[in-house]
Structures are given as C-alpha cells and as structure tokens.
C-alpha cells in the first residue's frame, strides 16, 4: 500500500473521520465494559453522569481540567516546533515546589501570588532549558532526557518532602507545610469549589493563541516545526526559536503545578499529579495542537477521568479504563487526522 495526498479533502472527510475516531473509542469503551461483566450502556451513562451529572461533578471536572489545560498548552506549544517536551511532569513539580517555597511565609502578602507565579514559570522554563541546550548544542535527543528528568524530579520531591520541606506538623506524612492564606488562589465565585487557576488557564490559552497567530515568534515556531532546514535557510535563528519555545513550554507546565498547590491542595505532596504531565500530551494531540481547542479537550479528558472514577465505584469496572480509552482515542485520532489528508492506494 501507498499513501497519496488528497488535493482538496471534502468536508465530510475532514469532519467525519475525527468523529468516526471518537465513535470507535466509544465502541472500545463498550467492549471493555462488556469484558468487565458490566452493562456497556450503563457504564457509558455512569461515566457521563459522573463527569457532568451534577453541579459538584461539573466543578470537579473543571478543577481536574485546570492542570491539564496548562500541561496541554505546554505540549502544544513545544510540539508545534517539533520540540518533544515529554517532561511536563517534572516541570509541573518545579512549579509546585516554587509555590511552596514562596507561599509559606517568605513573601509579603500583596505580591506573593504574581511573584510566585512568575518564579514558578521561571523554574519550569529552566528545567526544560537543559534538555533543549543539549539538543541544540550536542544533538542529544530531548525525548529521552526530558523523560528521564521526570523520574529524577519525582525523587527530588520525595527527598524534599521527607527532608527540608517536610511539614513538622504533618503527623509524619511526607507533605509540605500549608500555604499562607494570602498565597492561595481564591475561588472564582464564593461558595463554588472552583479556583482562579481555571480562569488563568483559559487566559493562558488565549495568550498562547494570540502569540501563535499574531506574532513573529508564533510564525517562527510554526516554520521551525514544519521544516527546520528551510527555516534556517530562510535566515531564521532556529536554535533561538527552540529556546524561546522551551522557556514558554516549561513555564506553562510549571503553572499546572503552581495552580494545583496554590488553588486546590494548599500544600505539596508526592501524589500532587497523577501524571498530568503525560496526559497533557494526549490533551494537546486531541486538540491538534490548537491552544483554544486544548481547553475543550482538557475538559473532555478530565471528564473521562472524573467520570470513570465515579463509574468505577458504582460498577465493578477498574478505573484504568480511563487511561485505556484515552490511549485508544489518541491513536485513533492521529490515524483519522492523517486519513483526512491522504488516501490509501494499492501498489
């Protein structure tokens, strides 16, 4: 078989195939539920109501979506430049550490939130700077270095929480002291359990979208991603563009950890992120790397997680079904998107 580009893909093709990919994922969900001995339609219903069925469920989904918007944006920005940042998990924790460092009394009250947010972004950016410099200077593949850094960072957090950053009042649990009230992100509406991190994430998505579509840097990032040799030939400072992309990507990922600590948890613990950094890759890919679409896909992915948790408590279907569905959706979706542009021919 051979792939042949389609000159003018029809609207049916461009819209129908992604929809088909989602339907196929739904089919896999029902098959897995059947294998688990549950009623497939009931399981789907339970996932949906678990994610969106009540005001509480919706707020939980939006809270879960918040870090995913940030990590999704981080991945979307980097992948657009073909910079394979798989280290959002580590950058997230860098931001979380900074939130604790500056939020537990080190700074005066009015400035603590903006200063710690900027410092968190800086920390995340610095963490990605190393792998990118290794890539541009020595040609070391950033996929492996950023992946390995995730493991190093988790061990570093474990060290901090059992050592210098341990809460003396924590009853022996490895967690950090709580943030001061001034260092906490307030709720958007008093009485509703949804913090300002969610609003900031949407603002970040809009800023990234404006940057990508309206600025020279956005144009350069796209050009470098599409063809680095051509971009270099056209006189673009490819390495500088990659560095700027990395700073932005690392900074965005760090905000995920910062907002989880400052907005939701109020302290740092080893289980702050159940893999938000990795899930950000799925969020970004499902959004086709579009920053505004990231908001939508993050809510979708968060809904699958929250809904599966609720469903798993009701029906005896393991909650890992959520990860299986997201992996399936990702693979179906990249294939569907390809097939909107090419046709399979024999020979």
């Amino acid at each position: 078989m051979r792939l042949e580009p389609i000159a003018n893909p029809s609207a049916v093709r461009r819209l129908g195939l992604p929809v088909l990919a989602l339907l196929a994922t739904l089919g896999v969900a029902m098959a897995l539920a059947t294998i688990a001995g549950a009623n497939p339609l009931a399981v789907l219903g339970q996932i949906a109501t678990g994610a969106l069925g009540s005001r509480l469920a919706i707020l939980e989904t939006l809270n879960r979506a918040t870090p995913l918007i940030f990590t999704g944006l981080a991945v979307a920005v980097a992948f657009r430049a073909k910079l394979w940042n798989i280290g959002a998990e580590a950058q997230l924790y860098a931001g979380a550490i900074v939130a604790v460092l500056l939020g537990t009394g080190a700074l005066g009250s009015p400035m603590v939130l903006p200063v710690s947010a900027l410092a968190a972004m800086l920390a995340g950016a610095m963490l990605l700077l190393g792998p990118v410099l290794l890539k541009t200077r020595l040609g070391v593949d950033e996929v492996v270095t950023t992946l390995l850094l995730n493991f190093i960072m988790l061990l570093f957090v474990s060290y901090l929480l059992e050592g210098p950053m341990k809460d003396p009042m924590g009853m022996g649990w490895p967690k950090s002291p709580a943030l001061t009230p001034e260092a906490r992100l307030p709720r958007i509406v008093e009485g509703l359990r949804l913090h300002w991190g969610f609003a900031l994430a949407i603002i970040a998505a809009v800023i990234v979208w404006v940057m990508q579509t309206r600025t020279a840097l956005g144009f350069e990032i796209r050009a470098v991603g599409q063809n680095p040799e051509a971009a270099r030939f056209a006189g673009m400072p490819v390495n500088a563009v990659l560095l700027k992309t990395a700073l932005l990507s690392g900074g965005l990922a760090a905000l995920a950890g910062w907002s989880e600590v400052a907005g939701l948890k109020g302290h740092l613990s080893q289980d702050l992120s159940p893999g938000f950094g990795y899930t950000g890759i799925i969020v970004a890919m499902l959004a086709l790397l579009h920053p505004l679409a990231v908001v939508v896909t993050a809510v979708f992915v968060a809904g699958i997680f929250v809904g599966s948790d609720a469903m798993s408590r009701a029906a005896d279907v393991p909650t890992y079904i959520a990860d299986m569905l997201l992996a399936t959706a990702l693979l179906f979706m990249v294939l569907a998107i390809l097939l909107t542009k090419v046709r399979v021919v024999r020979g």
Binding site: M1, R2, A36, L134, V144, L155, P318, L338
Partner: protein
C-alpha cells in the same frame, strides 16, 4: 573507599550486576532492532509492563515458566504490530504513537490485573526461575557464585549474541540495517521496506516484553504496579550509548547495572547514612543522561531513523 573496593570484588555484587543487566539487555536489544530498521519505539516502557504482567499471569494461571515467557513475547509482538502498523505504512509520528502505545499497554496491564484480581491487596506470588546449576562451573570459587544465574539471564546474553550475529552476518541483518539507512535502495533491490520495518518492530517489541517478563519471572516473583519504573526509557538511552551496536549496548547495560548494584549496596554503608537515599535511586537516571551527553558526538545514528518511507515519494 575500601568499602567500595570490598563491594566491587565480591562475587555477590557481580551476580547482582548480571541479574540487573538481564532485563536491560533484552529490552535494549529489542529497541536496537527497531532503531536499526529506522523506527524509534517509545512503546518500550509500556511493552515491558505488558510483558511483565502477561508472563506472570500466564504462569499464575498454570503455564510453565517458559510458557510465561512465550506469552509475554506474544503480547509484546501484538503491541509491536499495533506500533508498526501506525508508524510504518501510515508513517505516523513515532513519538506520538510510541507514547500512545506505552499508555495503552500499561493501562491494559493494570486494567486486566484489577479485573482478574479485584480483591487482592498484595499480588500472589509464583515460583520463579531458579539459578541454574552448571556442573563444573557452579562449583568454582567466586566465579561459581557470580555466574549463579537463572536460565533467563543466560538467555538474555544468548539473545544479544544472536542479534549481533543476525545483524552483521546474515542477509536478513544486512537488509534490516540497510532499511534503517537507505530504504529507497532496499526497495530498489526488490525487498519490502514495510515488511522489513514492521518485522523488526514486532520482533523487537517481543524482546522488550521478555525483558519485562524477566522482572516477574526471574527477578521478583509477582507483579507490582510501576515495577518497570523507567527501565524502558533507560534502554532507549542505552541504545544511543551503545552507538546502535549490540556488543557496545550489552557493555553499556552491564556498566549501568554495576552502578545500580553499587548504589543499592552503598546505601547500607556510612555514605548511605549521610546522603539521602533518593540520590542513590536517581543515580541510574542521572547516569543515563550523562551517557547520552558523553556519546552525543560519536553516535552513528541510523540515517533513516524516524523518517517514514512512502513508496514513490522522493
């Protein structure tokens, strides 16, 4: 420092090195085959998880140990088929597909585990591979203890030899290497680029899964969540460190395992009392990054690595 020296000359240390190196060797050979054929397989981490799980589960359900190895291999090949179908004929991003396969394989293993053993808090144990007694060899002082290894460890080294032989001494190996360097030339010879690459990824994935199965069938006797714990990514680094050559990659795996075995033992010494244990645990990952930096200038990357091939396209 005399403590370190005592550790380094002890037979039990070298026995541990060979034991720790075995899964790394198997999975690194798997990744090496894929990459020599031009396909980066980031499914490795998840494929090791599915191998560890299916191998253990098969034995738990009553198959003999080698049946467990075969089951793991089959499961790995299945995910290799998925990976290669998407990355070779369809030419999709090897990064994205690889990470997707890792997530799918890992969650499939965890989902199935919970489905089959919903109630258990600690996973049931199986009777794992025992160290082989080799007449003559096993009775030697020092060497006998260092080489007191299970059949799966011996198999790992045999596989490495077989991979090296096949790659450099057979027409098939030549074709696999060529398809990673210049696929158009292979096509011109009348060979199928798609077939060779898919075959390499499927076989390579099978080896990765056996590497994972080593953990449950030889090193430990049950399956734990997160037991693979980044070993797959370390193997990706080992392929680079070994400059895409089986022999060097095996040496890299042994060197790496030696550091790992050393850090476990150093934790018990005075040094372990001073330094946080997390530093020791991070050592393998730090070393992998250092290895990548060290080899960056000299590495002879397969020319067509990560370049999809579409017939008729120039």
């Amino acid at each position: 420092m005399s403590e370190v020296f005592d550790i380094l000359i002890s037979a039990s240390f070298w026995a541990a090195v060979l034991r720790i190196a075995s899964p790394l060797i198997l999975a690194t050979m798997g990744e090496l085959i894929c990459e020599r054929a031009g396909v980066l397989n980031l499914g490795i981490e998840g494929i090791m998880v599915i191998g560890a799980f299916t191998g253990w589960m098969a034995v738990y359900l009553g198959l003999p140990l080698w049946g467990g190895v075969a089951t793991a291999m089959a499961a790995g090949m299945l995910f290799g088929l998925l990976h290669s179908t998407l990355t070779v004929p369809f030419g999709l991003s090897q990064h994205v597909v690889g990470l997707g396969v890792t997530l799918l394989a890992t969650s499939t293993a965890y989902f199935t585990y919970r489905l089959m053993l919903p109630e258990v808090t600690s996973p049931p144990k199986i009777e794992p591979f025992q160290p082989l007694h080799i007449p003559g060899l096993s009775d030697l002082p020092w060497l006998g203890e260092a080489l007191s290894q299970t059949a799966l460890t011996w198999a790992a080294f045999a596989v490495a030899g077989l991979v090296a032989f096949t790659l450099y001494r057979t027409p098939l190996g030549l074709a696999v290497r060529a398809v990673g360097e210049n696929p158009a030339a292979v096509e011109a010879q009348g060979l199928s680029v798609t077939g060779l690459r898919m075959g390499a990824v499927i076989v390579g994935s099978g080896l990765m899964a056996v590497g994972g199965a080593f953990l449950t069938l030889s090193a430990f006797s049950s399956f734990f969540f997160e037991m693979v714990n980044g070993r797959g990514w370390i193997c990706v680094a080992l392929v680079v460190f070994g400059a895409w050559r089986p022999g060097k990659a095996v040496l890299g795996a042994i060197l790496f395992a030696a550091f790992d075995a050393l850090q476990i033992r150093l934790q018990q010494t005075d040094l372990g009392a001073v330094l946080p244990y997390q530093l020791f645990l991070a050592l393998p990952f730090i070393l992998s990054i250092l290895a990548l930096i060290l080899m960056s200038r000299r590495a002879e990357v397969p020319a067509a690595l990560m370049v999809p091939y579409n017939k008729g396209e120039r």
